[in-house]
């Protein structure tokens, strides 16, 4: 991975004040971060931890009380940085009286895109997010999932190099969640940089290369997901087709070497995988009860963990 920093924050701090200038809350305390080109970076933290404030400071929607935020080496308050940036806010704040085409056309015009390029881009994005049949419907008639999709499309209208996603899977059903995560991974494959913040830890774990954990405005942990989640003194073995004798032998071997056997059982799949399997099966054979899923194939076979 290239080490070119796309986003840098230097002692970034934000204090919210009331009308009289009195300090209300210190939302972010001296945050130092670097997000590199081509990585998916996750901001994690409980409510009020400062992750949305961080995103807003990076976007220039808020002004820092102290420190700086740089995007592509430019100050966050520099409008020209937005040329290469896409942003999906938490609630998809879009104009409800426009339809999907009009929405994307409006945002494309804000990028000074010529008409021909606009038409082409709008068409491909509407197909990409699966709203082809709803392209003429006003957004006020959209479900939450559809709104998130058109929100994602507007964030990608300029084919951005940096995409900031605020709770990208919020309000999506499991299929939508999976599609969103797949989309993030595809963006990564295309060399884009993605910064996302989410409450859903599993989502972050699935797609992020690196994460930062914030709590009460302070950076508590920063690093690669695989490194952070590795438990150094625990070994996991996954195997298929073992007999009971073999399992007993394994127990003995572990005991003989002074190890402590914590678990030796059949693994379960995730609920997400089970749900997706059922939906896929139902789509393939409509009107019939879905066949039971094969858990081992779904989870264990991929060698997760």
């Amino acid at each position: 991975m290239s080490q070119e920093a796309v986003v840098q924050t230097r002692s970034l701090a934000k204090v919210y004040r009331d009308f009289w200038g009195r300090q209300k809350v210190r939302a972010l305390k001296a945050l130092d971060l670097e997000v590199y080109k081509g990585e998916v970076f996750g901001l994690l933290g409980p409510n009020g931890s400062g992750k949305t404030t961080t995103i807003k400071l990076i976007l220039g929607l808020l002004f820092p009380t102290e420190g700086d935020a740089l995007v592509f080496g430019k100050s966050a308050s520099d409008v020209s940085k937005n040329d290469r940036l896409g942003y999906l806010p938490e609630e998809s704040y879009l104009y409800k009286f426009l339809n999907a085409e009009e929405t994307l056309d409006f945002y494309a015009r804000l990028f000074d895109m010529p008409a021909e390029q606009r038409t082409e881009r709008i068409d491909s994005l509407i197909k990409l997010v699966g709203l082809d049949r709803a392209r003429k419907r006003q957004l006020q008639e959209y479900s939450k999932g559809m709104t998130r999709r058109i929100g994602l499309a507007q964030a990608l209208i300029n084919d951005p190099d940096l995409i900031l996603l605020d709770e990208p899977t919020s309000g999506l059903d499991p299929i939508g969640t999976r599609e969103m995560k797949d989309m993030i991974l595809r963006l990564k494959e295309q060399g884009k940089t993605v910064i996302m913040c989410s409450h859903l830890l599993a989502d972050v774990q699935d797609v992020c290369d690196r994460i930062a954990i914030l709590h009460q405005g302070e950076l508590k942990e920063l690093g690669r997901v695989d490194e952070l989640l590795t438990i150094e003194d625990v070994t996991q073995i996954r195997a298929k087709g073992l007999s009971e004798d073999c399992k007993n032998e394994l127990r003995d071997v572990i005991s003989r070497h002074g190890g402590e056997l914590q678990d030796l059982s059949n693994p379960t799949t995730t609920l997400e995988e089970l749900f997706l399997e059922i939906v896929r099966d139902s789509a393939a054979r409509p009107g019939r009860r879905a066949q039971p899923a094969e858990p081992v194939q779904a989870a264990g076979g991929e060698g997760q963990g």
Binding site: L59, G60, D78, N82, Y93, Y95, F106, R109, D112, N158
Partner: protein, 606 residues
């Protein structure tokens, strides 16, 4: 028609008059400079309080340089996209309802507007234009003040400002969008109003051929016919026809009819309902009762000092000096070539006389260089009527010598001529203001004149939109609307507001006025001397300074209105239209810059 301030030629207005008055351009830059200094000081004070003097100075410098840099990177496509969005948003907010309201007003107006008025066109035009003005200003106010705050409230602004959109484009896009929408609505209102006025006032009369009285010449031959039309729409006309039974119905209720004699006299539909008289104004001075030159006549006690009066049956006179007269301005009549003159006389009576009877006055013309004067031509003056006089080209001098208006009275250099008006009846007075007497140039196109009148409403609408949008970059919807309303109201009473600030109005400043109000003290007597009065006046002197500063940026809405021109049937001078459009442009530019910096320095997500 009342014209309280002289309309200067556009270039003179722009660059400054020869009489030392400061031109619009220098004045604009003075205000821009003052606002710039004020903005910098205020910005620095706020920034320094948060980030210290050095940090504050740095931020002010960066904001200023970024501002100038961004202003050169405005994109037409982005501004147009934001303008389209503003239009769609306004349509979604059911702005079209305002048009329905306007049409309903027109439908019910016929019940209340009486066509028996002596000048129904004036009544109808005043009504539709005033209704249009206030409705358009209301629409402009609501649309502009609530649009951006709604974006902030619904947070849709997040997805806009995170695109490469400059704050100036957001402000200009809104101004453009609402102005375009307002223009279309204004066009619809203008067309509806035009149809309403014409359909309400258009009519024809009939002539009963049997009642026509023959006028016979000395030899008994028929030289013409006279009679009256039938009574329609509350009036009838006296008719004066030639031997062919064709001619004109004499002007009544501000219009006339032509009459064609073939196959019996047929009266045409009403003509001259809408006019665009083109006056050539002169400079007015007075003579008092002893014949001494004065700048003004005498006061008859009216609080409105627009007109001053001359006494009847004395040497008192009102003298207009006209420039730029030439023989091309004469009209051909049956009595020969004549110079058409318009005269409006306010009659002030000190005794009743005969009710409804006109007061006799006299007109003379004089060469300002040689002093050669024509003999006095009497005329009959009714109060506040536009009296269209014609001065014959062939005149007689006071010495009873035949003279020619253009050869003997009008000077060769500059085409100057003096026109002297006197009141001839003892105890009666004539009142005049400078625009009350003018040379009538050929009428301009009434339709084009209406376009100019509506352009003045358009200018007011755009200024309100610009102020509303600019205010809404900082304030929330209701507060932005209140701010804009205050700005408009103060603009309508700008002269009074400025008068209070400069101390030319009675009653002192705001605090003194409040004190007088609470203590029921009249506005003429001085406050009792003492510490209290000194304190009140000291506070007022500071407030007056602020008021004077605010007055310099207030749009003078009362002066924008050209309703009077259309109602009284006068052409709106092109100089006036150009001046209004220039002022509009200055306001749009100024408020857009102010709006830009307010939005640029605002935390969008706070």
């Amino acid at each position: 028609m009342v014209l309280e301030e002289e309309i200067l030629p556009y270039l003179q207005w722009l660059t400054g008059g020869p009489e030392g008055s400061i031109g619009a351009i220098p004045w604009f830059f003075v205000i821009v400079f003052a606002l710039l200094v004020l903005g910098l000081l205020l910005g620095f004070a706020i920034s320094a309080a948060r980030h210290g003097p050095l940090g504050g100075g740095d931020r002010v410098y960066r904001t200023l340089t970024a501002g100038f840099r961004e202003m050169t990177h405005l994109s037409g496509r982005r501004i147009w996209a934001l303008a389209r969005l503003a239009i769609k948003e306004a349509l979604r907010r059911r702005v079209v309802v305002a048009l329905i309201v306007f049409l309903v007003i027109l439908l019910f107006a016929s019940w209340f507007l009486k066509a028996d008025h002596k000048d129904p066109t004036k009544l109808y035009m005043s009504f539709v234009l005033t209704a249009t003005t206030y409705l358009m200003l209301g629409i402009a106010l609501v649309l502009s003040a609530f649009s951006l705050p709604t974006d902030f409230k619904t947070k849709t602004i997040y997805t806009v400002v995170t695109k490469p959109v400059r704050s100036g484009e957001i402000v200009l896009g809104r101004i453009l969008g609402f102005s375009l929408l307002g223009t279309v609505m204004l066009l619809i209102m203008a067309l509806s109003s035009y149809v309403f006025v014409i359909r309400s006032l258009s009519h024809a009369h009939e002539i009963d051929a049997a009642n026509l009285r023959r006028i016979e010449g000395p030899g008994g031959e028929v030289i013409g016919y006279e009679g009256r039309t039938t009574r329609d729409l509350y009036h009838r006309h006296t008719i004066d026809l030639g031997s062919e039974k064709s001619g004109t119905a004499i002007v009544e209720n501000g219009h006339y009819h032509t009459i064609e004699g073939e196959d019996g006299p047929v009266v045409s539909s009403s003509q001259g309902l809408l006019r665009a008289r083109q006056p050539l104004y002169g400079k007015l001075r007075y003579l008092d009762r002893k014949g001494v030159d004065k700048e003004r006549g005498i006061s008859v006690g009216s609080e409105w000092t627009y007109r001053s009066f001359i006494e009847g049956n004395s040497q008192a006179a009102a003298i207009w000096t006209f420039r730029g007269l030439d023989a091309s301005q004469v009209i051909e009549t049956e009595s020969g070539e004549q110079l058409p003159v318009g005269l409006i006389v306010r009659v002030f009576k000190t005794h009743k006389g005969i009710i409804g009877k006109a007061i006799t006055g006299g007109i003379q013309v004089r060469n300002p260089e040689t002093g050669l004067t024509s003999e006095l031509y009497p005329f009959e003056a009714l109060d506040a009527q536009v009296d269209e006089q014609n001065i014959p080209r062939k005149l007689t001098s006071t010495e009873n010598e035949p003279i020619d208006l253009f050869d003997d009275i009008v000077t060769e250099k500059g085409g100057r001529m003096e026109l002297i008006v006197q009141c001839l009846e003892r105890g009666q007075y004539f009142g005049f203001a400078q625009p009350d007497c003018y040379i009538r140039l050929p009428d301009a196109s009434p339709a084009w004149n209406l376009v100019k009148v509506y352009s003045s409403i358009w200018v007011q609408m755009v200024i309100v939109v610009a102020i509303g949008v600019s205010a809404s970059t900082l304030l929330n919807g209701p507060v932005a609307m209140l701010f804009t309303v205050s700005f408009i109201l103060l603009g309508f009473f700008k002269d009074f507001f400025e008068g209070v600030a400069t101390g030319t109005e009675y009653g002192g400043g705001p605090v003194e006025s409040l004190y007088r109000l609470l203590t029921q003290k009249n506005i003429i007597t001085d406050l009792d001397p003492g510490a209290g009065a000194t304190f009140i006046q000291s506070v007022d002197s500071v407030l007056k300074l602020f008021m004077l500063a605010i007055a310099q940026v207030l749009p003078d809405f009362s002066s924008f209105s050209t309703v009077g021109f259309a109602a009284y049937g006068f052409n709106v001078p092109p100089d006036r239209v150009l001046q209004d459009l220039t002022i509009c442009l200055a306001y749009v530019a100024g408020t857009a810059v102010v709006g830009y910096f307010l939005l640029r320095t605002r935390e969008v997500a706070k």
